[in-house]
């Protein structure tokens, strides 16, 4: 049965250290350090992390779990987010959000954190050096880094069923969630003359399902690390998406996925048969097909298209909404907005993608590239077009091409600035963020599902937070406001 779709987005940012020595780990650390040095900090507690566990019920067979690099910079922010160095990239993991619109808000707050980091680090670098951050997913030379989503799921729903039913959505949602890319960069597309494709990430996916994230990337990732009560919940970890700058694209990426997951949990597919014959082949086909109408083979022998498949999922979601409502998306009105936007954007895409250039990144970027190409009479392999592509994602306001486009906003600038420091109110991120705001020096460590306090006297005190829907403002605001110290808070919590 459906559980509320608490969600979040983790973004690994591309980084370029101008005048640096080419060590991206060191540069990323400088960047993150510069931001957090003046802020309350708490070391992240890795005790409960088990990224090697596999949702299919076995652990680590033939798959290497990602290494946890505890020696690298790692901070928890007062907005409940985690900001750290993952491999060779700065990563912002948003706090747990109660609905898809809140996920957009904290995704934008993450961009603001990175922008402030760029300014902060400039003060620490020698003259002539700077660190520039890009919100994209590839360097166009065959190296990809991820933007991951997370969704709270009912543990009782078998993982195989989730994987089977979500795959068609993961293959085709790129038609509105793709960030667009000039050219191609993987062996699978070698020898093909590709000018532009819909997704940054699609061509990097080589398996249907698996635990990997850096090699042989699977469309459905099986990492089973719920960061919550494992008897009741799982956390679906989604690695198949692009980083979006358009707010509508982020909203739809998260909103439609949350909705399709609700359909899966509530068994609302009405016997619809959307299984693709070859999802790995199909995800590349969809990325390369700017007409959105190339035939995709279904397992039952029929064919469909990316647009048709999205229309079918939309139809099922609309019927689901009529039958059961959309409270599962965290907010009924936001759920309605997801449906309305989904329909609007699919209509736009089938009319002419330029119609949704203010909502969909790949359409925005393609319009920009075509206009620029026309003005200067450029071939698709001209370096200036690759530069336009890259600079679309530059987070510096003075260089970003994205900010020069008039794209539709869903959240106000003030709300984004507030979200840089304020946690969401309707998930446990509220408790985490508020404790850090109030008593950072007494927080020994903060994890997704616990806080550890050091009161200076007794052994460390651990407060478990195994339910993402507890620790909300509704549950703990009064308790926090009525506690003058962390000792008092802990006394009241155990009372």
């Amino acid at each position: 049965m459906v559980v509320p779709k608490v969600c979040g987005i983790e973004t690994e940012y591309g980084i370029h250290h101008v005048g640096g020595d080419g060590n991206p780990v060191a540069s990323s650390s400088l960047l993150v350090n510069a931001y957090v040095s003046d802020l309350a900090r708490a070391g992240w507690d890795f005790e409960d992390e088990s990224p090697g566990n596999d949702a299919r019920g076995y652990a680590r067979e033939g798959s290497l779990p990602p290494e946890i690099e505890t020696h690298l910079v790692n901070a928890v922010l007062t907005n409940g987010a985690r900001y750290y160095v993952d491999h060779a990239h700065p990563e912002f993991s948003s706090p747990e959000c109660a609905d898809p619109l809140e996920a957009v808000l904290y995704d934008k707050a993450g961009e603001e954190v990175l922008r402030r980091s760029m300014i902060a680090v400039r003060r620490t670098l020698p003259e002539g050096q700077s660190i520039v951050v890009y919100k994209n997913n590839s360097d166009s030379k065959g190296n990809s880094y991820g933007t991951h989503e997370n969704y709270l799921m009912d543990r009782a729903v078998p993982f195989a069923r989730i994987a089977h039913l979500i795959t068609p959505h993961f293959v085709t949602r790129q038609i509105f969630a793709g960030a667009g890319k000039v050219g191609s960069e993987t062996a699978g597309n070698a020898g093909r003359d590709i000018a532009f494709q819909i997704s940054q990430r699609a061509e990097f996916f080589e398996e249907e399902i698996g635990l990997e994230t850096t090699l042989k990337r699977p469309i459905v990732n099986t990492r089973d690390e719920p960061h919550a009560d494992p008897q009741r919940y799982r956390r679906l970890h989604v690695i198949v998406g692009d980083a979006n700058l358009c707010e509508v694209a982020t909203f739809l990426k998260v909103g439609t996925t949350a909705l399709v997951l609700a359909l899966i949990e509530d068994d609302a597919f009405d016997g619809s048969e959307l299984t693709l014959a070859n999802p790995v082949k199909a995800i590349r086909q969809v990325s390369l097909d700017l007409t959105l109408s190339a035939p995709l083979d279904l397992a039952d022998g029929r064919t469909t298209t990316a647009l048709a498949l999205q229309w079918e999922l939309f139809g099922l979601a609309r019927k689901y909404a009529e039958d059961r409502g959309l409270a599962c998306l965290g907010d009924e009105a936001v759920g309605e907005q997801v449906l309305a936007r989904w329909e609007e954007v699919l209509h736009g895409l089938e009319t002419d993608p330029s119609v949704v250039a203010d909502k969909v990144d790949w359409a925005a970027k393609l319009g920009l590239l075509e206009a620029y190409r026309e003005r200067h009479g450029l071939d698709w392999d001209d370096h200036r077009l690759a530069a336009v592509d890259l600079q679309y994602h530059d987070l510096r306001p003075e260089r970003s091409l994205f900010v020069r486009l008039d794209t539709e906003r869903l959240v106000s600038e003030q709300a984004v600035l507030d979200a840089v420091t304020e946690p969401p109110r309707r998930t446990r991120a509220y408790f985490r963020g508020q404790c850090l705001k109030r008593w950072a020096s007494s927080v020994a460590s903060a994890n997704w599902d616990s806080m550890v306090f050091d009161l200076g006297t007794d052994p460390l005190r651990r407060v478990p937070m195994m339910d993402p829907l507890r620790g909300t403002a509704e549950f703990v605001e009064e308790l926090l406001d009525g506690s003058s110290s962390p000792a008092e808070l802990l006394a009241r919590l155990s009372a």
Binding site: H87, E350, S354, R399
Partner: protein, 67 residues
């Protein structure tokens, strides 16, 4: 979907197709025209802010794989 709308799509997966489409594409939709005009206005600004040595800029952007 009406046929004339289908043809209007900027279907440009390959360079060859790009050329073909350009000669065949009828006038874009009013919204498309508007967006295009807005984009045209932006191009001067983009010429100004685009990294000066595009080739070097793109070549130097090398990342380690992540995740």
């Amino acid at each position: 979907m009406p046929e004339q709308e289908k043809k209007r799509r900027p279907a440009t997966t390959t360079r060859e197709e790009t050329t073909t489409e350009e000669t065949e594409t009828p006038a874009p939709s009013p919204q498309g025209e508007k967006l295009k005009a807005e984009l045209d206005d932006l191009l001067d600004e983009i010429d100004e802010v685009l990294e000066e040595n595009a080739e070097e800029f793109v070549r130097n952007y090398v990342q380690k794989g992540g995740e």
